[in-house]
């Protein structure tokens, strides 16, 4: 019996080992956004060229992905070989040596071609710690037909006064058209991304140079009351639970006259397959309040390798493939130029074929250029980041402040009460984390 068993075991080992010539299996964690799903579908192109590498995908919704990836890397779990992370995580994790610097992306990778703002956002002390997959800023999307009917003209650089006035004029609640759709769902990456960018244009900031929260200052009061008043007068019902996807659906079904959100939305709202208003969309820069800052943000989804990974070489090969110029060409050849991942490379914005099918390209680039993570507000700040502060505590603080602000939008709290609660909660966290002595 024992002989039979060991013989069987031996045979099984042989069978298992025979086809695998030192196979490496990469486990890649990513977000369920359209561009990543497309990358997943194109994986065969990569494995065909690299027969010794297998790829396993873990695709999750943004918040869940962030929880999984963060707990995995913080506890040194080692579940993933390639991580999809945002510009928020890169500088924090690089500083903690949680990521491997990407030194061997290959000679034809052309790091110099990456947009300078995005490259800075994923670098630390001159080294690339993550490779940008797609990048975005925020901008104004509006309905040219409704504007024309109301006799309004969208300026290239709209001010908030103009936007408020236009939103009130364009609102037709009985006809189901709302003047403006903005994010209201609580979360540091949802309503706070928008509101922080908006507050920058009003001259507000999260913290002063001594890390003292600034919600008790008039700039924040002006930001939040402008936002709440505007949404009450001209926003859709149930706005306090609308995030990016909800607003996209509203805009595509023709219910919003204006929408200020991520530049990646531009390719969705101009796609006739998804949008009822595809041929009636105009673009402009995010609004300003005449202080020299627009309500722009800066974000990129990036691929990175966790420190301690035993498959770093294969992982780096994959990252170089997925973020290269050749990948862009591959997507263009299969799905058309309008669908390539935007916002990471200068060469894309010089490509006449792309510019022809992407009417939003010029403004996307201008919006990315207008955002400055090192100087997000008119006033000076101790943190890096436009629509967030790149400190580990920000996720928690941003989410609890976001809850207060969504309560103000829902009407279950006043602007003053929400700001006071945000101030107390943030001060508490910052004291606990040791920023304020």
């Amino acid at each position: 019996m024992k002989h039979v068993l060991s013989a069987l075991l031996g045979a099984a080992t042989l069978l298992g080992a025979a086809p695998s010539v030192a196979q490496t299996t990469l486990t890649i964690a990513t977000v369920n956004n359209g561009d990543m799903i497309r990358m997943q579908a194109l994986t065969n192109e990569f494995t065909a060229k690299n027969p010794d590498i297998n790829v396993k995908w873990v695709t999750l919704e943004e918040n869940v992905l962030r929880q999984r990836v963060t707990t995995d890397i913080a506890t040194k779990g080692g579940q993933f070989d390639v991580l999809t992370i945002g510009t928020y995580e890169v500088p924090i994790w690089a500083k903690k040596n949680w990521l491997i610097p990407l030194d061997n992306l290959g000679s034809d990778y052309d790091t110099a071609d990456l947009l300078p703002k995005i490259r800075d956002a994923v670098s630390a002390s001159g080294k690339l710690y993550a490779a940008p997959f797609y990048g975005e800023s925020s901008m104004m999307m509006y309905r040219t037909d409704l504007f024309q009917k109301a006799g309004l003209t969208m300026p290239e650089k709209p001010t908030w006064d103009f936007v408020i006035d236009a939103a009130n004029k364009l609102t037709d609640k009985s006809g189901g058209v709302y003047g403006i759709c903005l994010r209201g769902k609580a979360g540091w990456g949802e309503n706070m991304a928008f509101l922080t960018a908006m507050s920058n244009s009003f001259g507000a900031r999260w913290f002063d140079e001594k890390w003292q929260p600034q919600f008790d200052k008039p700039e924040w009061k002006k930001t939040l009351s402008t936002y709440v008043d505007l949404m009450k007068a001209a926003g859709p019902p149930g706005a306090s639970s609308n995030g990016f996807n909800e607003n996209l659906a509203l805009f595509n079904s023709g219910k919003c006259a204006m929408w200020i959100d991520a530049t990646v939305a531009a390719s969705f709202v101009t796609n006739p397959k998804e949008s009822k208003v595809a041929d009636k969309v105009g673009f402009a820069l995010a609004p300003n309040a005449g202080l020299g800052k627009n309500a722009n943000w800066l974000w990129a989804w990036n691929l990175a390798i966790p420190a301690g990974s035993k498959k770093a070489a294969a992982a780096e090969k994959f990252i170089a493939w997925a973020t290269s110029k050749d990948y862009t060409k591959l997507v263009a050849s299969k799905e058309g130029w309008a669908n390539v991942p935007p916002g990471t490379r200068t060469s894309l914005y010089q490509n006449p074929e792309y510019l022809k099918v992407a009417p939003f390209a010029k403004l996307t680039l201008a919006s990315i250029d207008a955002a400055d993570p090192n100087k997000p507000s008119v006033q000076s700040v101790p943190y890096v980041g436009v629509q967030y502060a790149a400190i580990p505590e920000f996720q928690g603080i941003g989410t609890s402040v976001g809850q207060q602000f969504s309560a103000a939008l829902a009407g279950s709290s006043t602007v003053d009460a929400a700001l006071a609660a945000a101030q107390t909660a943030t001060e508490r966290e910052m004291k606990r984390a040791g920023y304020i002595k």
Binding site: T71, S241, P392, Q395, G396, Q403, S406, R428
Partner: protein, 290 residues
């Protein structure tokens, strides 16, 4: 002598099972107690260290804590009241002889077998949605403005969803109890000319006292930890309107990655559950004796 030996042997043979169960219970608890005394943030490994009771002080003085505690109690209390006040008449109805009784019973019990996340999604998107939901459609049919449930009455919306899930449980327990009721007693009451109402008050209700106690105890245990329904529908908001203790601990652990504070919160929740259980047993537990 032989019996004593068998007893010793029996105990010895039981030891591994008891030890395993003990470890099963004590290790997580011990680790939670240990973590609760540490400054232990997943995102900030430089500042790890022993801080004593600081995490407890921090959790208990959190402005969100009292709101969460109140929400928890309101949620548990309302769902208990709804399930018992509706469950009793429902059980009485199901106890009658009607055509297709077994099918009706099955339908009434069905919600209990739907997963909490699924039922929350169904309620959120198909029933309570202010634009595309069934309630909104009915409201517009009769010319009323649809209620924006999760915006205007978020806690009530959650209570409705949870109560819908637990009503079958209460009904089921009460129905089983009704079926064990003495038919002869009821007949005797009828012959003495007692009305249906007084039969219910003086015969049925005392008979149901014990099963009602069971329902209250068991539901309380589960309702103190309601999470999926809140996570799926409102995410604890708007503001803190639907944050209960379980959700607050979740947000400490997985939004702020603060293991120390979340552990302290978990222990606080254990203490609260024990306090609630203590009073419950004192008030209604007497029914279980005898």
């Amino acid at each position: 002598m032989a019996t004593q030996q068998t007893q010793v042997l029996g105990r010895a043979l039981l030891t591994p099972a008891v030890a395993l169960l003990f470890i099963w219970m004590i290790v997580p608890l011990a680790m939670t107690i240990y973590f609760s005394t540490l400054r232990y943030s997943l995102l900030d490994s430089e500042t790890w260290g022993f801080v004593g009771l600081e995490n407890f002080r921090y959790f208990l003085t959190d402005p969100a804590f009292l709101t969460a505690l109140r929400n928890t109690l309101v949620l548990v209390g309302s769902v208990l009241a709804i399930t018992i006040l509706l469950g009793t008449p429902l059980a009485l109805l199901l106890d009658q002889q009607v055509v297709g009784r077994s099918i009706v019973r099955l339908m009434v019990i069905a919600p209990f077998f739907v997963m909490p996340t699924v039922s929350a999604l169904v309620w959120k998107n198909l029933l309570m949605h202010p634009v595309s939901g069934l309630f909104a459609w009915v409201a517009t049919l009769v010319g009323a403005t649809p209620i924006d449930w999760f915006n205007d009455a978020p806690l009530l919306a959650v209570i409705v969803i949870v109560a819908w899930q637990w009503l079958p449980f209460a009904t089921l327990i009460l129905l089983t109890a009704l079926q064990s009721q003495d038919e002869e007693q009821k007949e005797a009451a009828e012959m003495d000319g007692a009305s249906a109402l007084s039969t219910f008050i003086y015969l049925t209700l005392p008979h149901l006292a014990r099963p009602i106690t069971v329902v209250i105890l068991i539901e309380t245990i589960f309702l103190l930890t309601v999470f999926a329904e809140i996570f799926v529908t409102t995410g604890g908001g708007p503001g803190l309107a639907t944050t209960n203790i379980a959700f607050l601990i979740y947000s400490q652990a997985l939004v702020q990655y603060d293991v120390g504070n979340a552990s302290a919160g978990g222990l606080v929740a254990v203490v609260i559950a024990n306090i609630v259980a203590f009073f419950l047993v004192r008030i209604v537990g007497r029914n279980l004796e005898a």
